[in-house]
Amino acid sequence: MISLSGVVAQFTELVLAVLLAPLLTGWVNQCRAWLQNKSAPPLLQPYRMLAKLFQKEVVLAHNASPLFRAAPYLIFGCLCTAAAIVPTLGTDLPLNAAADAIALVGLLALARLFTALAGMDVGTAFGSLGARREMLVGFLAEPALLMVLFTASLISNSTSLATIAETLAHKEFVIHPSLAFAGIAFTMVSLAENARIPVDNPATHLELTMIHEAMVLEYSGRHLAMIEWAVSLKLFVYSCIGLVLFLPFGIAGGGDWLGLVLALPALLAKLAAGGALLALIEMLSAKMRIFRAPEFLGTAFLLAVLAVLVHVLLER
């Protein structure tokens, strides 16, 4: 049954995700600049960037296929759907029945697939180099992410993210040691998936080290704007998944209007803290060689497996 509060929560959540995503990116950039003792760019810089890119003309390569032109919209669409099924304000979401945590991983994988295909489409050396590296990182990160989600699913006996949030936030408070392992694994995975510093540098255009930037080098104008927006949205979605799994307090239950209103400042505070933490992690770590990435993500996978094992041993 679809309730009115559910529809309102779903709609606000999606709009918020799409609108706030560049703000989160701006905030992380600002924190990073402060930590590096630089004067920070304004908080709204990503929005200005998007506005500028939307006004610019699109330059296409001669041999670009329709896929190359469709990919930015497809990627953005995938990430919007992903943002819609992650509970951020309330757990009573009408779209929640449509897709669970596994489908969420699938959606993120689909977005990655289109980015990689578009990177290879024009046929430049950098594009295929970036696509290959992205797929290397992706195929190692995906199982780890799945295991992290499975740990949370084992605790709440459901793969639906809303039920997971409901169980963790509203049932009696229990310390779950397995979530400590899962939390570290998830942090490592999300650093790799969002092209953050130990694995990839989001600010680089240095030929040999880039992963994500190499794939989108050929894009310009509104296509690039869509991709940049999708990248911020991806960071937002990952942050929200992390909040749902490890810090779900403040999310409203079904039909709880006051809770829904109070959930917004809670979410903003948690995202601000999470963004500052991300900037700190990025500051404290050095970029790895690309061939160290498998080891990094292998460790994440092992930690996620340990989380499941610890759950079986200690919490059953």
Binding site: I175, P177, L306, L309, V310, L314, E315
Partner: protein, 220 residues
């Protein structure tokens, strides 16, 4: 409040021990290895003190204090001094590469958990669930001793194995008698001193701390 969450906190600390054991297995630098060892000792101290408080076993406070003095302060300090004197800061060499070591580690953890499950069902202690983790810590430290070729990481593996043993004793039977604990503590301390002398002897003889040199029985 703490009474209620006590057992859960012990489980959390136990998982932290396991996490640190894995971190030590993955570590490439000796300095961080020693710090991780100190952190593991500190976790052991916290969990022993918590068990002592929850079960009113006053002798466990003694063993907690012993852990704090010996494993968090004394041994890391001795190790740091040794490293400085030997000048071997970057000296962690593995026989098997680190990802494979971690995979073997996972298999060991599964083995330990399976072994401990029937034993834990028999035990009536508050901490019975953590026996599997203690066993896993012992096996992981053992793995570290086997897969490192240099002497210093092997010794740290040995010391951390002792951490695991202490933890197993607390988990299965609320600790060992005080006399035995003091005995083991003295053993470890003296062992550390002797091994420290060995480090210098090994290096003097072979110009390196690689224990593979010790496998040769005669000179050619």
């Amino acid at each position: 409040m703490l009474q209620h969450y006590g057992p859960q906190l012990i489980n959390l600390l136990a998982s932290l021990m396991l996490l640190l054991a894995f971190a030590m297995l993955a570590q490439r630098r000796i300095m961080s290895l020693i710090n991780l060892f100190a952190a593991q000792g500190f976790t052991l101290f916290l969990s022993t003190a918590l068990v002592a408080w929850l079960t009113d076993q006053s002798h466990l406070y003694g063993s907690a204090l012993l852990t704090l003095v010996l494993k968090v302060i004394a041994l890391p300090w001795i190790l740091h001094r040794l490293i400085r004197r030997l000048n071997v800061k970057w000296d962690v060499e593995t026989l098997i590469n680190i990802p494979s070591t971690m995979l073997i580690g996972i298999v060991l953890v599964i083995l330990a958990f399976n072994l401990a499950l029937p034993i834990a069902l028999l035990a009536g202690t508050l901490t019975k669930g953590t026996l599997g983790i203690a066993l896993a810590c012992v096996l992981l430290s053992f793995l570290m001793m086997i897969t490192r070729s240099k002497a210093v990481p092997q010794v740290i593996g040995f010391l951390s194995m002792e951490n695991g043993l202490f933890f197993a004793a607390t988990a299965a039977a609320y600790g060992m008698p005080m006399v035995i604990e003091f005995g083991i503590a003295l053993d470890v301390l003296v062992g550390m001193v002797i091994l420290g002398i060995f480090f210098f002897r090994i290096r003097e003889r072979f110009d390196s701390l690689d224990t593979r040199h010790l496998e040769k029985l005669k000179e050619h």
